[in-house]
């Protein structure tokens, strides 16, 4: 790959810069992947709330495993699915820290279902960013708990058959039934308006923690164009036309 140096013209004032909470490291996400947008939004939220110096992030197993390289704050890498338990340990040990986990659908809604449900039910004062792209990205496109009916993956080559593999798990709806959580919302980042809404939700989820309101989770319905085997633009279209049918956007629980 060749890199072309771009000369910055004199008098140029950048209007879109890297958030302070992000390092110089390049993201490892694929082109068109929504992780890039979401990771950035988290960094912007941390910047805007001025909490970089007391934030501890929890990196999952999966495409976001490199998060500690991207962020300029303390980080811990958790075992697959265990981020909410690790977050509990950190937050209970030091309640002054702002603790967030960043997890995919396989991590949060399959192998880590119990940890997630019980952290939510205890109302742990943590912030959870839940990226639902309906697939296992890092391992090569296997069926996720959120894979849509009929959707082809490498482990459902004929499409997900709900008679044998069950239905997409609506984790946020499940969690919203509990008394513990303070804020459960589902957002998306397929266009500018939704990116801005998602950012507002992420800020609120962090603010809740600062104010001691308890468990906040922002689910973001995302596209994985690589494993969908579509272009980034078609990935966005997939979210709007397919995924949102099963995962409607909006707040599922707000306790103020």
């Amino acid at each position: 790959m060749s890199v072309t140096e771009v000369k910055v013209p004199a008098g140029y004032v950048p209007v879109y810069t890297k958030p302070k909470s992000l390092s110089e490291a390049r993201f490892t996400y694929c082109p068109g992947c929504h992780h890039g947008i979401i990771t950035r939004l988290v960094a912007e939220a941390i910047d805007e709330l001025g909490i970089q110096e007391r934030t501890v992030g929890i990196a999952p197993v999966g495409c976001a495993v490199f998060l500690s390289d991207f962020f300029r704050c303390d980080f811990v890498q958790a075992a697959h699915g265990r981020a909410c338990a690790v977050a509990t340990g950190i937050k209970r040990a030091n309640p002054d820290l702002i603790v967030f986990s960043y997890q995919g659908d396989g991590d949060l809604a399959a192998i880590g279902t119990a940890e997630t449900v019980h952290a939510a039910n205890r109302g742990e004062n943590i912030t959870v960013i839940f990226v639902n792209n309906q697939i296992y990205g890092m391992t090569g496109g296997e069926m996720a708990p959120t894979t849509l009916p009929g959707m082809r993956t490498v482990t459902t080559p004929e499409g997900r058959d709900v008679r044998t593999t069950g239905y997409p798990l609506r984790m946020s709806e499940m969690l919203a039934q509990l008394d513990g959580p303070s804020y459960i919302t589902r957002q998306a980042v397929f266009d500018v308006r939704h990116v801005q809404m998602a950012k507002k939700a992420i800020i609120k989820a962090f603010k809740n923690q600062i104010e001691g309101k308890g468990f906040s989770l922002v689910e973001i319905v995302a596209a994985c164009p690589t494993n969908l085997r579509v272009s980034p633009v078609e990935g966005n279209k997939w979210v709007v036309e397919q995924a949102l049918k099963y995962f409607p956007l909006g707040d599922l629980k707000v306790r103020d």
Binding site: F75, V76, A79, A85, A93
Partner: protein, 350 residues
């Protein structure tokens, strides 16, 4: 002042005195009293007691609290320890200090709640995945259980290696007088500059066992194994009892080691020259001292509440220098001193 306590309670109180401020658990017999004691007492010391949804969650809470730089512990019994193995491997890989108490019961599977020593392999040879070791301490009395819990916290912090206290149902349940160790003042607990406390005025700290580059990861593991070698040099602990003139050496740890002390006394009364070698650190195992004894004692009889697990380490230590017979009981059966004595008589000259 001595206090009458169960082994489980002595270990809990010792953990509090060692400065443990985060304890995460899931109920299982025969370590219930440890959980109950922590629930009653830890919050009074400003600590966090949390009953988790599973053993898996509990050990990952330990992982989080350890990463935050706090002295932390979990306890369980055999089936629960199996569930914790994933988290223990991550603790070892991420160089996090933590203490795990295993009050062993009989297995495999659900087995039963009677005392056993069938988790020796799991504790000392891995259990979780990957190239790692645990410091494994095996008490034989409630008093020693309290002392070894304190030591486990110290060693774990000093080397950044998780430590396991390997007890059993007998030790956990039995009540006996305990002289509790003095509490460790908070300022004596080592600083943890690597801990996740917020990147204020310093570059970010990262706690992780992850590295995609095999060459870089190899260096991480080489450093880890250098630490293990250092522990092997510095921390081997064992007890010898009546070994000077022994013609037969009993080798046993934990509850079995304690029963074998009685066997030695009984044998001596009958004029049999029997001694006892009791490993206190199961890892690092006392290979060298045992090898030296094997040069002059012709028979080393290993006795365990298992089908013969530590026995493999005994044979590795002895390397053919002496006879190494084995006597063990299975399924939670605890042999009486007389049963062991009749086994001794099969191997010792009259």
């Amino acid at each position: 002042m001595k206090i009458l306590m169960r082994g489980n309670e002595a270990m809990a109180e010792a953990a509090i005195r060692a400065g443990c401020r985060c304890y995460f658990c899931y109920p299982i017999t025969p370590q219930g009293e440890l959980v109950e004691y922590m629930a009653r007492h830890l919050p009074r010391h400003g600590g966090v007691f949390l009953q988790a949804e599973s053993e898996v969650a509990a050990i990952n809470m330990v992982y989080g609290a350890a990463a935050a730089g706090v002295r932390t512990m979990t306890s369980s019994s055999s089936p629960g320890i199996s569930l914790k193995m994933e988290g223990i491997s991550y603790l070892a890989g991420a160089r996090l200090p933590a203490v795990i108490v295993n009050v062993m019961r009989a297995g495999p599977g659900l087995g039963n709640i009677a005392p056993a020593q069938g988790d020796y392999f799991q504790a000392t040879k891995g259990g979780g995945h990957g190239d790692y070791r645990l410091i494994v301490l095996a008490p034989s009395t409630a008093q020693e259980a309290a002392e070894l819990v304190m030591l486990a916290f110290d060693l774990s912090d000093r080397y950044r290696v998780p430590a396991m206290v390997l007890a059993d149902g007998m030790l956990g349940q039995m009540m006996e007088p305990v002289e509790l160790p003095e509490p460790i003042p908070p300022e004596k607990i080592p600083e943890k500059p690597w801990a996740l406390t917020g990147a204020k005025g310093r570059s970010p700290n990262v706690v992780s066992s992850f590295d995609l580059d095999p060459y870089r990861f190899r260096e991480v593991l080489r450093a880890l194994w250098q630490t293990y070698r250092e522990i092997e040099r510095n921390e081997v602990r064992w007890e010898e009892y009546q070994v000077e003139d022994a013609e037969l050496l009993l080798v046993a740890y934990g509850t079995m080691g304690r029963i074998c002390r009685t066997v030695v006394r009984k044998a001596r009364k009958e004029g049999l020259r029997v001694g006892l070698f009791r490993p206190i650190t199961l890892w690092p195992f006392p290979y060298e001292p045992l090898r030296k004894l094997a040069e002059k004692i012709p028979v080393l009889l290993t006795v365990e509440l298992s089908a013969g697990q530590m026995w493999e380490d005994v044979r590795l230590a002895v390397e053919g220098r002496a006879k190494t017979p084995f006597y063990g009981e299975l399924g939670g059966v605890v042999p009486t001193p007389d049963e062991i004595l009749s086994e001794v008589k099969k191997h010792v000259r009259d």
